[in-house]
Amino acid sequence: MRKFYLLLVILSQMISCAGSPELVPIQRPLGLDADRGCTTPFPEREWQFVHSIQAAMPGGQKAVIIGITVLSPKTGMIECVMMTVEGIVLFDARYDGQMVIHRALPPFDSMDFARGLIDDVRLMFFPPGGPLIASGISEDGASICRYRTDRGMMVDIVTHEGHLREIRQYDQDSRLVRSLKTGLDRRGTAGSQNPIPVRLELTAFGSSEYALTLDLIEARELNK
């Protein structure tokens, strides 16, 4: 019986990994000082964002919610609130080295969900936490800056032709686990060097696939 379960686990892992694209090879390597352009898409100061979030979940379920995020790139602090369009708060948490969940209604009431959400927010708005290990041009002509995070994952910051940006996160086995695409439309504010993307498209690969489309409703720089 145990062998049967083991087989099931291995099979499910194989199925979940089979669909995930692998690490894109860098065809023409460049010097490691080329990371200057890669760090520009991230906010440098404290921001408050309000997004409408279209979520496509496994099983074809779709929902639109409002997401409020406050982040401090300097301290790594992230505050998140998810609520219905009608204003009912579904999830409210703060991460500042440790997770504090203020409110979580089912099905958002698990620590795994909270950690996953904070990881996704970090991928969207913070630079990869680790050194640049390679940079260059891929086969399709996109420029890639590759970082190894402190958790042993790989993060590629990819700039396609037309300045379309993509952030790809790979697991320890070099399988793609997250892809974040940012649109060309950006919203700038006075004195801000990094205009904020109006649309973010996050796709999660693996055993629990989902897709989120975030449309910016409001961006406010805090402590100006």
Binding site: Q48, S52, Q54, T84, I88
Partner: protein, 211 residues
Amino acid sequence: MREDGITVNRTRRMALVILLFISGAICIGWADTWEEIRGATGTIRTIKADFVQEKHLSILSRPFISKGVFYYQAPDSLRWEYTSPVRSILLMHKGGIRRYTETTKGLVEASRMDHKGMQIILQEIALWLGGRFSDDPAFDAALKDGRRIVLTPKEKGLSKMIEHIDLMLSDTPGIIKSVEIYEGPDSYTRLEFLNAKINKELEEALFREVS
């Protein structure tokens, strides 16, 4: 000349007092008891009103504002439509509740009610508009001074979601002026109703279709 001026002022003051008295007589007396409220709302067949929704949260440096319009037809048909910043329509008609939300592919119907909380609120709104506060299966209602009604959840499960609800009744008999839904000390939603039109003919399709 001075006497004339004093007479004019006195007349104006008297007119103001009479006006205040009349308006007071119109407004006072429709919301002192549940029976009066039920009586006033009993005459209402339809309502159309705009609403402004303010979401107050400690994370927000200023409230998040949404706007929309709602249509009500007695006894329990409701169209609750957000027009900005995200278009979303909730339809409640003949016991069924459906939700449509604007996506990149246009207005899309949700496969099921996204959350139990909104289902409860929609059913509550229909009860309130019908003046059936004391019949409320989910909330205990208390009538306070100043045309204020406070609703507190009967069940512990619901109180985790909603702490209490404050309703302010309008000067116009049968009409709710504002609703405040408290989820906790730092989180509440305020709904203010504007431009209410009462007993105008409404198409039934409004409660069935989103177009």
